[in-house]
């Protein structure tokens, strides 16, 4: 997942920030854009706002590129991404205070969706978003990166800057929570 990191970091330090910022930035953009999108989704950014927030992330990266210490480019971009995503979540929470939120489907319709063999993708995605929203931020990030984006525990640990054991603990609790939430919805089907 972090292939080319050393190469990119090296190029970054070879380049003078003032002369080649744009060149280095373009390389970073090409190499990391897709990953930033996945991270943003793991951080709970709605699909409809991914592009806007990604743009915001890269504007910040370009602004801060001169002060980057070159230690861990992936971790640095990940931190910017998660901070931007949580800022956005906070802002949208504040905005939603004053706007009427769209009501989510009731649990009976969710259980109907779960019961059907042909699970409609859109509905399932809505359920997934709703379930992830009920988790704490740290657990959701670890869970989404592992289960949805396909990262390994070691990669998550490197991105988050935490021990692998901590990632595993978070994953364990997050999976248990997710399982219980789905079980609760499935029980709703029977009643």
């Amino acid at each position: 997942m972090v292939e080319g990191l050393q190469e990119l970091t090296g190029r970054l330090w070879v380049a003078e920030p003032s002369d080649h910022d744009m060149l280095v930035f373009t390389d970073i953009y090409d190499a990391w854009f897709r990953r930033v999108l996945h991270w943003l989704r793991a951080c709970g950014t709605p699909d409809s706002e991914l592009e806007d927030i990604a743009q915001e992330v890269f504007i910040i990266i370009r602004r801060k590129l001169g002060s980057f210490d070159g230690a861990n480019l992936g971790g640095w971009i990940y931190r910017i991404t998660s901070n931007t995503a949580s800022d956005h979540r906070r802002r949208s929470w504040f905005r939603n205070l004053f706007s009427k939120s769209e009501p989510l489907e009731d649990s009976s319709s969710i259980s109907r969706v779960l019961a059907s063999d042909l699970l409609e993708t859109k509905q399932a995605r809505q359920i997934l978003h709703r379930l992830l929203d009920q988790m704490s931020e740290k657990r959701r990030r670890a869970f989404a990166l592992f289960e949805i984006e396909g990262y390994t525990t070691e990669e998550i640990a490197e991105l988050e800057g935490i021990p692998v054991a901590t990632v595993r603990t978070r994953l364990h609790h997050a999976r248990k929570e997710f399982y219980e939430l789905v079980a609760k919805l499935s029980r709703g089907k029977a009643t």
């Binding site: 854009f33 993708t121 995605r125 396909g150």
Partner: protein
């Protein structure tokens, strides 16, 4: 560590549901459209937000707070000006009624013109009291409004004075008011009309009444009435 999303063939139906839900997440930007769009936006906006703009945030916030405070202050001043403008016309309306009686012959000569003003004095004085109610001390005792008996007595005195042209009877009624309600809400009015009635019947006590008025209400609304009465008595 196994992934939940790979458990589609599990024996546990809940695990299968988990896998279904987790697999629903679609691949992001498969055609690279979003990547190209964001790149174009970044190229269109080549200058990143400057540090100066970032530093301006607190200044902007302070400016907004200042603007809000200014608006609030302007609103308060406007409200106070409105209140004071309510008081000024009330006094201006009552002043001629009080001033007119001193020119007693003129009122007597044109009773029809004076009559429409009869029911007014009590109401404006009430309004003036409400309008001049102190704002700074909301816990201070509010000035009490006139009781029905007070109003009745004053109105009957006014009727005798202005309609029946009987200053003697009017004077008695105003005198009765002053005795019965020494702290009444219409005391000032009763005293002023008492001066008028007294002046009409050329009572020697007129200047004493006027002096009493000036002592009690040095900047009262009927000050000019009292001063004129003293002047006339001096002549």
């Amino acid at each position: 560590m196994n992934r939940l999303r790979d458990q589609k063939a599990s024996q546990d139906p809940i695990e299968v549901n988990c896998a279904k839900i987790l697999s629903s997440a679609e691949p992001l930007d498969p055609n690279g459209i979003a990547e190209r769009r964001v790149r174009a936006s970044l190229l269109l906006n080549p200058s990143p937000r400057s540090r100066v703009a970032f530093m301006m945030r607190p200044v902007m916030a302070a400016a907004m707070v200042f603007a809000l405070i200014s608006i609030a202050a302007a609103a308060i001043v406007h409200e106070r000006m409105n209140r004071s403008s309510q008081v000024i016309p009330t006094i201006a309306n009552t002043a001629p009624i009080a001033a007119a009686p001193i020119a007693a012959p003129r009122i007597a000569a044109a009773p029809v013109a004076a009559e429409p003003a009869i029911p007014q004095p009590a109401a404006p004085s009430e309004a003036a009291q409400v309008a001049t109610r102190p704002n700074k001390a909301p816990h201070a005792a509010k000035p009490k409004g006139p009781t029905a008996e007070e109003s009745k007595l004053l109105m009957s005195g006014l009727k005798s004075l202005r309609v029946d042209h009987d200053p003697l009877k009017a004077g008695e009624q105003f005198e009765r008011y002053l005795h019965r309600f020494p702290r009444g809400a219409l005391f000032e009015e009763a005293l002023a009309y008492g001066i008028e009635a007294s002046a009409l019947r050329k009572d020697p006590n007129t200047s004493a009444l006027a002096t009493r008025y000036l002592r009690k209400f040095p900047s009262g609304r009927f000050r000019s009435v009292a001063e004129n009465a003293i002047k006339r008595a001096g002549n």
